[in-house]
Homo-oligomer: 226 residues x 2
């Protein structure tokens, strides 16, 4: 029997690749997305399209309201900065986002009898996010194992972060090899009403450069130049 895995799926380039890797590893995949009041809601439509293309067994979108904290440019009215204009932890950082997302993944995994969770974090491009670092993933894995039935059952959760040390170019090449259709994905922090990418934010910048360096045509639909 295939082992089940819960795969966190934002609808972006990284998580779509991560899902393809989980499928390629032979897992029966359950995709988990969050409607957390993000400004870039076209991500959720992208997540649905990616999940369908990958043929996941189930795709659940959990609605949570992080806007009550109102402190991040991804969920509030703080302007999204252009790439390379800020230092340290970016203002697009959502407090504890991956801790929250992984916690839900653990809850669903425990319910499904899954021991494996996939998350597309990457410490090369996003070293500014504390909850993308390998040390965090490792600490979370311990915490999840101790805090669930796993501890009593004598097994442990595996939090897979296969993109952890890959460059954007390597991620794109791997995804292409696994059949990912990146035209379905959405990475922009600041898309317009039709979901067209701004081409200017950190996320667009990394994505654009990734395709260029990989020598692969960029399928992203960008907003027309003003």
């Amino acid at each position: 029997m295939q082992e089940k895995a819960v795969v966190l799926l934002s609808g972006g380039l990284d998580s779509a690749t991560c899902l393809a890797m989980a499928k390629n590893d032979g897992y029966d995949c359950y995709a988990l997305s969050f409607d957390y009041g993000q400004r870039h809601r076209c991500e959720l439509e992208a997540a649905g399209a990616v999940a369908r293309q990958a043929g996941v067994t189930n795709h659940v979108v959990i609605k949570i309201d992080l806007r009550q904290w109102n402190s991040s440019a991804l969920t509030s009215d703080i302007a999204v900065p252009d790439a390379g204009t800020s230092e340290g932890i970016p203002v697009t950082y959502v407090p504890a986002r991956n801790i929250i997302f992984l916690s839900f993944a653990v809850g669903w995994a425990e319910t499904l009898g899954a021991k494996d969770i996939f998350i597309g974090v990457n410490s090369m491009d996003y070293s500014g996010y504390p909850d993308c670092r390998p040390q965090f993933i490792e600490a979370f894995q311990k915490c999840a194992t101790i805090g669930t039935k796993a501890a009593d059952g004598g097994w442990k959760f595996n939090i897979h972060a296969p993109l952890q040390t890959m460059t954007k170019t390597e991620i794109i090449r791997s995804g292409i090899a696994l059949g990912v259709d990146y035209a379905l994905t959405s990475s922009c922090y600041n898309p317009d009403a039709e979901g067209l990418a701004c081409g200017k934010c950190d996320s667009c910048y990394l994505r654009k450069n990734g395709f260029e360096a990989a020598g692969i045509p960029d399928p992203t639909k960008y907003q027309p130049e003003l």
Copy 2:
């Protein structure tokens, strides 16, 4: 200036006591509750009443939908068992509930600039719940510190679990000494439409015995005997 603390507040006896302890320790308290589709929704009204009586600075109720997993007697149609009738991890266990709740608390704490989180878990009465154990609280504390700005700021989160090793009787005596009005709290897993306690579930049983052993009149309103 007073240090801020986020206090998880279910509306039950334990969390009301935990909040009183946080206030007594001098913290500026921010109470956090969850509307997670629990069958005992009168808990949320109780949480509001307890928060008001304690004079918290803010009380936020976050709505999340754990019912999609449909695996626990607290959120589904599985019958709540009478006290002492089951062994091991109770069917009222909600997968990863405290991991999820604590993750939100960390997000809010980070937003508020709070380093302290209070949770009323107790390993005496609830040894069957993996996410109530001291080892879990410790692992979570590490994980929260590594996964947030705390790591870069050189400080750490403190997850306070002051009830951890207390008996129900000790908890009740401490709460009474701190002025907790237990008539406002709701502990029953299976209350009726008016919020009256069943008097039969594990939670009612522990509460009832706690008041009796403490020699304190039980202010709980029970359903009339059929």
